[in-house]
């Protein structure tokens, strides 16, 4: 129980709060900001569970971003808003910012091997995120042509 709290609940709570902060910076008004924060927490929970029980981190990133994509598309259709904001903010905890930063740190330090391996891993991670989100978007667009205008 204790472990559950500190391993799963707290990181998701921090992700929620941090993304609400980013929502303010991105000028998301009204209830949308809480929806984004919740999406971020959900995505991170999926990522944590998946890295623990299922697969490596790139596959987990794919799964998590697919879940975030589905959540954002549903919310965008319910609220009749573009999906961009929800998706961008909810993906923030997963986004490989630290990876790019470390890669360029190695580059500046002249450590070419570590630079290249970190960079490639980061690009793979970002690609997995984008494929996951795009896949859900395309699937929903194909499957729900009647509701297409809702997400336009």
């Amino acid at each position: 129980m204790q472990e559950c709290f500190s391993v799963y609940f707290l990181p998701c709570l921090w992700a929620f709060c941090a993304c609400v902060g980013f929502g303010l910076v991105f000028n998301i008004q009204g209830r949308g900001i809480l929806i984004c924060g919740f999406g971020a927490a959900l995505g991170w929970l999926v990522y944590l569970l998946s890295t623990r029980y299922l697969a490596g981190d790139i596959v987990s990133a794919f799964l998590a971003s697919a879940v975030i994509g589905f959540y954002s598309e549903v919310m965008a259709r319910v609220r009749r808003c573009p999906v961009t904001g929800y998706l961008q903010v909810a993906l923030l905890p997963l986004v490989p910012g630290a990876g790019i930063y470390h890669a360029m740190q190695y580059c500046v330090a002249g450590n070419t091997e570590l630079f290249l391996s970190t960079l490639l891993h980061t690009i793979g991670f970002a690609a997995a995120l984008s494929v996951g989100a795009m896949l859900i978007t395309s699937l929903l667009r194909a499957l729900l042509p009647r509701l297409h205008l809702g997400g336009h």
């Binding site: 992700a15 709060c17 941090a18 902060g21 991105f26 573009p82 993906l91 905890p93 490989p96 630290a98």
Partner: protein, 252 residues
């Protein structure tokens, strides 16, 4: 119908969509739908820095408008308003003058947070990301201070940092790393690593890299590559900026 006005309407709406941070495919699709709703057959091309819209008048004369897109942030409120107006106009095309007036009012009439709320946003983002990456409570406080400093640099420091994204990022990340170092030396923060990385989440172009990938997957290769190049540039600026305080502090 006056095709000059129609072209202006489409280009202005597209420009606002671009500056609010919409994806390329969304901009192209929205402008195309809008102009098609008015009965024109438009050609739209967008890359992150430029938007080109072209239509043919009924007597076959081609007219084109190009908008240069300045550096911009993300403004979801503006994006939602543009999108709403675009859908509204596609459903029932209003007379061009009325539609143009609505487009002109999009930007001044949108709701915006006052700058202290934005500063609070930067602070919260930095503080909670340092907790998120594994920092303790004291790191969180230190990161909040660093985040506030970076937010203040971004919001109020444009006169000093200039509009060049490379130098702005370099200065902001130098401020972040320098403050993290000072706060750790002063005894407030415990781990410089967690404080710095939490604060840098505000600057780091992870989102931009993911967007670049999404654009490449969506088929907008040029936009995707432009954004990838920008990501590498910004990341280099961050790496250089964080190295500055470390170099200067090492003799002490």
């Amino acid at each position: 119908m006056d095709h000059d006005k129609l072209l202006n309407l489409g280009a202005e709406l597209g420009r606002r969509l671009m500056t609010s941070g919409a994806e390329i495919y969304r901009v192209e699709e929205s402008v195309e739908r809008l102009l098609s709703a008015y009965g024109a057959d438009p050609q739209v091309f967008a890359i992150p820095t430029c938007l080109i819209v072209s239509v043919n008048t009924p007597d076959g004369h081609p007219i084109t408008r190009m908008c240069r897109i300045p550096a911009h942030g993300t403004d979801i409120e503006l994006l939602e308003r543009c999108n709403e107006l675009c859908r509204h106009l596609c459903r029932e095309p209003l007379p061009l003058e009325e539609a143009q007036a609505l487009v002109d009012h999009l930007e001044p009439d949108r709701r915006q947070f006052p700058s202290w709320v934005l500063l609070l946003g930067y602070t919260a983002a930095a503080a909670f990301f340092s907790l998120f990456f594994g920092g303790g409570l004291r790191d969180c406080l230190a990161a909040a201070l660093c985040g506030m400093a970076v937010g203040a640099c971004l919001l109020f420091g444009q006169r000093f940092t200039g509009s060049n994204v490379f130098f702005r990022t370099l200065i902001c990340s130098a401020v972040a790393a320098g403050m993290a170092l000072l706060l750790v030396r002063a005894g407030l923060g415990q781990s410089q690593e967690y404080i710095t990385i939490g604060t840098l989440m505000v600057l780091v172009p992870g989102m931009a890299l993911t967007n670049a990938m999404r654009e490449i997957m969506a088929g907008d290769i040029i936009s995707g590559l432009t954004r990838t190049a920008e990501v590498l540039l910004v990341a280099t600026a961050i790496a250089l900026g964080t190295a500055i305080p470390l170099v200067f502090s090492s003799p002490f």
